[in-house]
């Protein structure tokens, strides 16, 4: 899953990024409203963490302009804690609102919940044929037995499972699993898909040549 952090406090953005990366998220950072809006418009992020007091373009404006185009889940993370400001943020199209200082684990849990809800699977445990994917603990069981996956394999599996029955293109995979700074080779995805098939069964995922992958319900 790929997250955008729009936060002008570099030290805070860095800590957030690190924590989210440790949870297996691909994370991009933007340090002002303009570049944040640009990134959020060009990439299909799974969630955006948005500060309100931003240089160049404030968070409310970023949200307003983003909402004109996209449904990306947005969590506002700000020091502004008055109820009218929370109402303004949520009514402005934000999906969640968290005030600084915040608890890191809570923020991560809220991000996971946001992503689940936006994919239409409010339960943290996804069941797919003989698989049980716990998105909170990031573990996978096959027929009750744990399966060992690398973080990237897990991220790919989660993406496919959340979009089951739908075509997942290679671009989508690159967008959701890698951040801007990661060097991605075109055949890396094929390697991960091959690994997943090896660990979860041959027919787990179908390839649509030239288009992408699909997991049947």
């Amino acid at each position: 899953m790929r997250i955008l952090i729009v936060e002008d406090e570099a030290d805070l953005a860095r800590a957030l990024r690190k924590a989210l990366e440790e949870e297996g998220f691909a994370v991009d950072e933007a340090h002002d409203g303009e570049s944040g809006l640009y990134s959020a418009r060009t990439v299909d992020y799974d969630a955006v963490i948005l500060d309100l007091m931003l240089p160049r373009l404030d968070g409310w404006e970023v949200l307003r302009r983003l909402r004109a185009l996209k449904k990306t889940p947005v969590l506002i993370l700000t020091a502004r804690d008055s109820p009218p400001e929370k109402v303004r943020g949520l009514d402005g199209g934000a999906d969640d609102y968290l005030t600084k200082p915040f608890n890191l684990e809570e923020l991560i849990a809220r991000i996971r919940a946001l992503i689940r809800r936006s994919a239409g699977h409010p339960s943290p445990v996804l069941r797919l044929r003989d698989l049980e994917i716990d998105t909170a603990a990031r573990t996978v069981k096959r027929r009750g037995r744990p399966v060992d996956l690398t973080p990237k394999e897990y991220a790919l599996l989660e993406l496919l499972a959340l979009n089951r029955g739908k075509l997942v293109t290679r671009t989508m995979i690159y967008d959701h699993i890698y951040d801007d700074e990661e060097d991605t080779l075109s055949n890396v995805v094929d390697v991960y898909v091959a690994n997943l098939r090896r660990k979860l069964g041959r027919d787990f995922v179908r390839t649509r040549r030239g288009e992408g992958y699909i997991v049947d319900v």
Partner: protein, 463 residues
Amino acid sequence: MFRSIRASLLFWYALILALVLAAFGAVLYHQLRRSAFQEVEARLWGLAQALAGGTERDGEKGVEMELPEDFLRTFRDQDKDAPYYVIWGPAPGQVFPSRPGLETSPPPPAGLRDRDGRREVVLEGRDGLRILVGQRTRKVLEKLHRFLGKMILAGAGVMILALAGGGFLASRALGPVRRISEAASAISASNLSQRIDVARTESELGRLAATLNATFDRLQEAFERQRRFIADASHELRTPLAVFHSNVELALRKDRTPEEYRAALEVCLKASRRMRGIVDGLLTLARADAGEIALRREPVDLKAVLEETAALLRPMADEAGIVLEVSGGKAAVTGDPDRLREVATNLLTNAIRYNRPGGRVRAAVRVEGSQAVLEVSDTGPGIPEADRPHIFERFYRVDKARSREAGGSGLGLSIAKWIVEAHGGTIGFASRVGEGTTFTVRLPAGPGSGPAAPPLTSPPPPA
């Protein structure tokens, strides 16, 4: 004595009215009584004189009355209230009352007398006769008493009417006071928006209401300012706190390398320095507001202050690629050197921070008449028109986000303004967007100038 103004007003009103009525009644009654008795006396004198004129002795034993029968009949009337007479002859035992049952001895001296509810006149007639004419005053007194009763009744009526009218007037006059007090008591710290309806309060009370409203306006403003200030302060503290908190949480999530711990601690140190800057600034301003900061009074050379400060800040300017120039000559002022250094530090730091890369900061000291002037100009972006009135407000920032990044507490200019004003000086600025800003501090020059003797009154907090 009374809890309500209305009751005490009515009480005094009634008391005064009662006294006035009583005095008036007493005078009137007295006059009336006097004139009634004078009338009776005049009649009695008339009768007595007529009687004396027509009566003479008749031999040794009797008197002869040459008076019309009608006249004499007046005295013989059996009505007890009719006038009567008694005539004494010169010899003892010679008494001739007009009707039986009259007191006949001894013969009274001539004159007017008043006894047993009767008025009597006595005069000397011809031939040594003594003539008394009298009348009971009962009827006169009864008339007077009836009049008195009517007067008391009328007085009571007047009192009742006057009190009712007075009560009505007092209520009318005090109604606005009641409304004002109701409105005022409804206004509390949590609800400062209510106001007294000035349109419904008249004249002097209208002015009172307007005055109270103005006071409430100021109170509300002060509360609002305080509320905003606290909100701003907490907001300012939250951001470094969030940096601190999230970095500690991140570091503790799992085992880290020593380098990672070091990096986390450095970030935390930076965040805590920022919080300290804000807290120190808040404390300074709070103590300044409370008038708790006593400024020293020493001879200070403003130029020396500027040079020391510039020397300290030169590394910061170099790092930012800013040229820092200091010029001017000695300028003696009286004041607190540490606080004046704080002003210079603040102005120079701002000029370095909010400058363009490769920009220039010019700081100069000069004496202008009785003023020592410190001027700091930068080649930064300038202050937009809309922000200019707010520059000295606490936590006010031109570029909300950039300034935080640059590390200011948002209180520097508020503190500088307080220090300059506490020294009896002024601080102002001129700015052109895109060209730069010049801050000018003017302090009274020479010995004997500078801050007033402690305790200092602090300037009011910025609006």
